[in-house]
Symmetry: none
Subunit: 207 residues, 4 copies
């Protein structure tokens, strides 16, 4: 009788009590991912850490994947909101300032829960092959295209769609590189400082 395995949360919490349970469970899940990585993550431990019975966990998340999906969504939401807030003024700024604001925003967003972000991004297997549209970057990419269009005349690039994709992947990769200690000892700050430079030069072809 199992309906097709789905990731939708099973039950919308109606009472106050149950909304609290959902959050508690998500917090526990995050805590375990952060401390033990995905290898230490299982539904029993999550429930135990949340101080909730395993049955309660399954009341709200029909399976393990749904729990992870919900956690990803909550995290993506947080990051998006922060980036959104930081880049609010970018529309009025010069291109250079806009770049610096956006890059700073993305860096700051990654500093919210760096380890959780890393685990979700690198260890937790994605259920579907391609990234889901709810990923935190989806919205950013649109914003970015708008921003680029505003400064069209300064740009040395041709297709804004390609450019925005390149920028997103590039900035994300470099921010992540800054999160991981480099075996050769390059400090995180050095990498972060370079990001705006890379972006500016790519976009304008100038120093």
């Amino acid at each position: 009788m199992p309906a097709a395995r789905s990731n939708v949360p099973r039950k919308l919490p109606r009472q106050e009590r149950s909304r609290a349970t959902v959050d508690t469970v998500l917090d526990a899940a995050a805590h375990i991912l952060v401390n033990d990585g995905y290898e230490g993550f299982n539904t029993n431990r999550v429930a135990e850490r949340a101080g909730v019975s395993i049955g309660s966990l399954y009341q709200y998340f029909p399976n393990k994947a749904a729990l992870l999906t919900a956690l990803r969504q909550r995290h993506a939401q947080e990051m998006s909101e922060l980036v959104g807030a930081r880049t609010h003024g970018a529309a009025q700024a010069s291109l250079k300032q806009a770049i610096e604001q956006v890059v700073a925003g993305v860096i700051e967003a990654h500093r919210l829960h760096p380890r959780l972000h890393q685990v979700l991004e690198q260890e937790v297997p994605r259920q579907t092959q391609q990234a889901s549209p709810t990923d935190w970057e989806a919205g950013l990419r649109l914003q970015l295209m708008g921003l680029l269009a505003q400064h069209r005349e300064q740009l040395a690039v041709i297709d804004l769609s390609t450019t925005s994709l390149v920028l997103i992947r590039l900035v994300d990769a470099l921010v992540h590189a800054a999160l991981i200690p480099d075996p050769q000892g390059v400090p995180a700050a050095a990498i972060e400082g370079e990001i705006s430079t890379v972006v500016w030069r790519y976009l304008t072809g100038r120093r």
Copy 2:
């Protein structure tokens, strides 16, 4: 029951036969990762596909992680060799040509076993936190620093150590982006074409 008579030499050179078994097992492991992803990967299946008993597999690889590590190493080796071969002449070339050669080499290396690369990179959990020194990029980074030093006077960057790290991460991220179909439809070729541009502009601050 008398031991079955066989025509094959009773004692093949020991290391020869071992090497053959190891390769067979690694091939089977790769095949399963490529076709079923990490979720379909387990030691029993690998042994079965390799036509080897599970006991034999454990003769050569003390545990599952060792098997995956060996596979990663072999794959990194292959990629390194190809990049090395393609960038052999880069030392004599102009900076622009050198960039184009290296980028083309990296792209080509990723085309060797794209799906295996993707699975090893994104699905298979790493045992240690930081990237291991055997990763395919380690050698490339050294090469890169040498190459940059040769064209020092044309560069608009300051610290070559930082720069080489940034370049490695940046190129790798963009090559990977080209491997994954973009939801907004930007074609792989467009991304690949942009990589050299990004690198050139970042390094020189010129168009």
Copy 3:
């Protein structure tokens, strides 16, 4: 929080409302058994489908078995009543006619809710070993003995008690055989048509 004002009479006749709830729950239970079989049957789903809280369900049925027993009783009652109605005139008829009426009645009773009957009979585990006295056949068997006694002189059988049991089991088995598609393709109608013949010949020893 003030109790919500409602227009419905605060106190419906207690038994009325109870009866309605009980029926709603039984309907839901039947619906689930019919559509998903016993494997899809659980108390939570029944309550949900009935639009009743799980707590309320347990007000009326102390456990799962009680729910199934009640459903069986209701179903048996329905079948019995229909058979009773159809065989009302059998007492005045000839033996041959009586047989035909009873057999037709039993067939018709099985056509009321064939799938529910099948599931209750074949999938739902019985709590006790022997058939319960509430089964629909209990009454029929008594009726039958009376009927046979009326035509005693035509009968080629010895013990009416044995005969009535044999007849009940026999007719039931053949009616059920007609409900299940035959792998060799014998149509249901052919089987049904044969039932009266079997009974008549058994009882009388004549064609």
Copy 4:
């Protein structure tokens, strides 16, 4: 990675040892069904009773259903062989004798493992809706048609295909009725004695 759920035994036992394991497990399964019914049946208990680890059980039976299917097959095989042996001479006998031999054979077959038979038949849910072709009756039905054809001229029935189905269901139902204690006290022997009579009269229309 799960291949479509199937009931085929997972692995053909090659070594002596493993064939023994399979049998031990089936014996344990039968024992539990006989003593505790299907409600007491679970794979852990079966493995425990068999003195085998749960892992070993799953080496040979990919899931619970496969275990039950194998048990059913083994049981059907046993019954078929016994009926076959007992009805071997039926071909040479008169119709009356043949009927008595077959009926006696069927009764005897049910006496092999009556409780196991009952549980398999009534409690264990079937995975598919219709009876599987491996059921013990499939072969018997063919035999029966042959037998009937031999005595065609004595028969008062029309279509042998229908007749054989009716007979199988009828005999089976009555044999089962004899297995279950009757609440009204009709003894098993009385029922068994009546079976041949029912069959003879149905087939010939004579006493």
